[in-house]
Structure formats: C-alpha cells, structure tokens
C-alpha cells in the first residue's frame, strides 16, 4: 500500500515562500527580472512570488513553460504526456530569468526547460528556484534558491500540493513499496 506522510504544512509553506522571495529580492536585480514557472505547480509558485516581488511601479513579467515537447524520454514513454502549452508574453533576450518549479529531483525537467529557453531568446542569466530540493540528481543541476531540502530515498516521491490546483497547501512524502526498487 501507498504511504503518505505530511512533511511540510500550510503555515510553513507560506513562510518558505516569503523567505524565498526575500532572498530573491536581496540577490537579484528586480528591474531586469522575469519569472518563468514550469507547468504545473511551478506556475502557481511563480505567481505567488510575483505577487510578493511586485510593487507599484515595478512590474515583473511572468511566463509559463510546458517542457513536455523537450523531454528526453519521449521516445520511450508508454503513454504520450499531455501537452498543455507554453506562453511567454515578453522577450527573454537580455533579461535575468528566474526559473521556478516545485521540486528539484533528477534535474531532467530543468535540463528540458533550459533547452526550451534558448529557443525563445538569449537571456542575460538564468537562476533556478525550487520550493523543495531532494536527493538523487541524475544531471549536474543545482538550485540557486530553495525552500527546504527533504530527505527521500530512491523510489519515494515528493508531492507538493498547492491551494490553486489541489485545494490545500502541503508537501507529502509518498512511499510505494511495490514500486520501490
């Protein structure tokens, strides 16, 4: 049977996002910043960050990345993943980009996102922010900003649930004994 443990609750998620937005505004030049959220929960996180970073007179552009068509496993998946679409309503070239996702795991999603980014332009820099970082990276990719590191064994999954999509804010650690290898 699948086992789910809550590792982060609602109040702490709010706190983590506040801390993340503070360290972003301390370290990055917000005047030249644009945020790109990775579908699906990266988009909700990106929207929350944007809300915290924008001030009257300081708009921060936000785009949505759907990395499906850039995945490195499309020739081996059993079922084709749903394509939901990318939308970048501004020019990336010369911008400092903050790439946002919920969990950094193997690094393959971020690899795909970086490949996709350069199809849209040449950003001045790209930084990575994820709410959760965890073990078992398969590519040499590390976050620049991260809310919390969560210990998880191979075969364990971290599920970030967000109000806008899931009706609640929490992070779950999921163990599926039948699938663990």
């Amino acid at each position: 049977m699948e086992k789910k443990i809550e590792v982060i609750g609602e109040a702490e998620i709010g706190k983590l996002i506040n801390q993340l937005s503070e360290s972003v505004s301390r370290t990055l030049n917000l005047e030249n910043l644009a945020i790109l959220g990775i579908r699906r929960r990266g988009v909700e996180l990106a929207l929350r960050l944007q809300k915290r970073l924008e001030k009257p007179g300081r708009k921060i552009p936000l785009g949505i990345l759907d990395i499906t068509l850039y995945r490195d496993d499309l020739s081996s998946v059993d079922v084709q993943p749903l394509v939901r679409g990318t939308s970048i309503p501004f020019d990336l070239t010369g911008r400092d980009i903050l790439l946002v996702d919920d969990v950094l795991y193997t690094g393959r999603t971020i690899r795909a996102a970086l490949t996709q980014l350069v199809d849209f332009g040449r950003p001045r820099s790209v930084k990575l922010l994820t709410l959760i970082d965890r073990d078992h990276r398969e590519l040499p990719i590390q976050p620049d900003f991260t809310g919390r590191f969560v210990e998880a064994a191979a075969g364990e999954f971290i599920e970030v649930r967000l109000r806008e999509v899931d009706g609640e804010d929490k992070v779950l650690l999921i163990t599926r004994p039948d699938r663990a290898s």
Partner: protein, 306 residues
C-alpha cells in the same frame, strides 16, 4: 484519457473524447508556430513519408511543415516520379519505404480504403490524408479547431454544409465529427449531389439553400469539382451558383456572428462569391493556419508512446 491508436484512418472510428484530446493538444501546439524558432524536438529521429497519389499542395505542405516543426525528418513521394509508373504495387512501395525505417506514412489516394489497406500490411503508423469519397480526418480536425476558437462550443451549434455531398470526403469527416460533438448539422446541395442514405448520419438534408443558411452559426462551403459538370451531376456552373452559391445576399440569412468556412481551393464565383470569401466573417485562412497545429497534434499522439 490516453491516446492508444496507432493510425488515424477516419473520424468515424473516433470517440468524442478522442476528438477532444486531439483538439486540446492542437490548441497547445498553436503557440509553436508563433515563435521565431518554430521548432520543438518532440519527434527528433522519427521519419515521416508523405505518399500522395493525388495532387495536393495545401494538405501536403501542411503535413510537411507540421512534421518539420516537431523535428521529424520528412520525405516526399509522388507517383509520377516513382516506380508506380513502372508497375510496382502500392503495398510493395510501402514495404520498400518501410525497409528504409519510415515511422509514419501520410497517405492520399483517389480510392477509398487505401490508407486502411496499408495500415493492415505495414508496421508503420498511417495517417489518412484523404481517400476517395471516404474521409479526410485531419481536415475535419482543423475545421473543428477553427469552429471551437470562434464559437467556444459545439453542442447546439447549427452548422450548414453546402455543395457536392456525393463526392466530398471533407463533408463525410465533418458530418461524423460534428454530430459526435453534439452540433446540429444541415446538409444542402442539388438533388443529384445528395447520395441516398445521408439522413442516417444524424444530419438533416435539404435542397433549399435558404433553409440551410437560416440562423446558421457556421456556413461550410464545399468545393465544386468542375469536372463533375461533365459527368452530368448538374446542368451548368451558372445554374449551380444561382441556386447554391453563398454570397453577400444569402449570407445575411445566417446569424450575424456566423463564420464562413471553405476547405480550399475555392472556385470564386461558383460555390462562393468573392465578397463572401473576403467577408469579415470568413475564417478560411484561419483554417489553413490551424491545419498545421491539428496535424502536429495527430503526429505527436501517433508517434509518441507505445
């Protein structure tokens, strides 16, 4: 819902859920063609062969661009420059190309059933790009995408399809597609161009243009193939246009926000007047644009996944 089909041979065999999945996917693919770099790597390493045994510019170009924007390699094959003139059978041709590791064949043929035959004989995916009087599924899908963009729904829409219903594979695919999604379809043409049994599709049939156009949300005008006149399906082009042309005057019978569609190529002054073709309600070029996204969606769904 997941797509499990290997081939796209007809709209008749698809469920409403499958049609909707193609439409959702196609809507997401539209953005790719608006980029400066109009290409995604999804079908890298796949090979698509277009096998057109009938002339076509639009459909073939549209399929080639769709495949290229997904990074597939594309080879074209035309019967006039091929071994078919030397007597090779279609299946032999298919097997020879398949031996060169082609993953997908896009097939157009004057005889109904050729794509289905190739699907039985070959291991590759087959996409029907128009077979005889049977079906032209990707045309219907791009038409649906266009209707959805303008009308946001299908249920309860009144769609009038006018013209040569007897020989039109475009009409056949669209009738299946629209009735499955809950639109009200009314078919109209001169009696010799209405094949018997058309009422059994769930569509209504009329010979009066005014009845078809009255309060229509969508006006779909089929191409009149000029050679049909020699075959005596109607007395003259002039008579056809007098009773069946969609022009400014007859367009006013439809709802004020109706859209005008045509699969191309148009015979201006025959089935459609120039004013109607260039009316602000005409979405004909929109259809062409959506053809790329619809075909990208079909190629993606057929060639990704097992």
């Amino acid at each position: 819902m997941a797509w499990t089909r290997k081939h796209l041979l007809s709209i008749e065999e698809l469920s409403a859920a499958e049609i909707n999945l193609v439409l959702e996917t196609a809507a997401s693919f539209k953005e790719v063609s608006t980029r400066e770099i109009k290409k995604v790597p999804a079908l890298r390493g796949k090979t698509v062969a277009t096998l057109f045994f009938e002339p076509s510019t639009r459909t073939r170009t549209s399929f080639e661009l769709a495949a290229k924007r997904l990074s597939a390699d594309v080879v074209g094959f035309s019967p006039s420059t091929s071994s078919l003139v030397k007597g090779e059978t279609i299946i032999d041709t298919g097997e020879n190309l398949e031996a060169m590791k082609v993953d997908c064949f896009v097939v157009r043929h004057a005889s109904s059933g050729v794509p289905a035959l190739l699907a039985r004989k070959l291991k590759a995916s087959i996409i029907n790009a128009g077979d005889g009087n049977h079906e032209h599924p990707t045309q219907a899908l791009l038409d649906l995408l266009t209707i959805q963009e303008h009308k946001k729904r299908f249920r309860g829409l009144k769609v009038a399809i006018l013209g040569d219903l007897r020989h039109s594979r475009v009409a056949r695919s669209n009738i299946w597609a629209l009735t499955k999604l809950g639109a009200e379809v009314i078919l109209c043409g001169p009696p010799p161009l209405i094949p018997p049994g058309l009422e059994t599709t769930g569509a209504r049939v009329t010979v009066r243009r005014e009845t078809a156009l009255k309060d229509a949300d969508v006006i779909y005008i089929l191409r009149i193939q000029l050679e049909r006149q020699q075959e005596n399906y109607f007395p003259s082009l002039r008579e056809y246009s007098r009773y069946y042309q969609v022009n400014r005057e007859t367009l006013s019978l439809a709802r004020p926000d109706a859209i005008v569609m045509h699969p191309g190529p148009m015979n201006r002054g025959v089935e459609i007047s120039t004013e109607a073709a260039e009316d602000r309600r005409s979405v004909i070029l929109n259809q062409v644009e959506n053809g790329i996204a619809a075909r990208m969606a079909v190629l993606y769904l057929l060639l990704v996944g097992k």
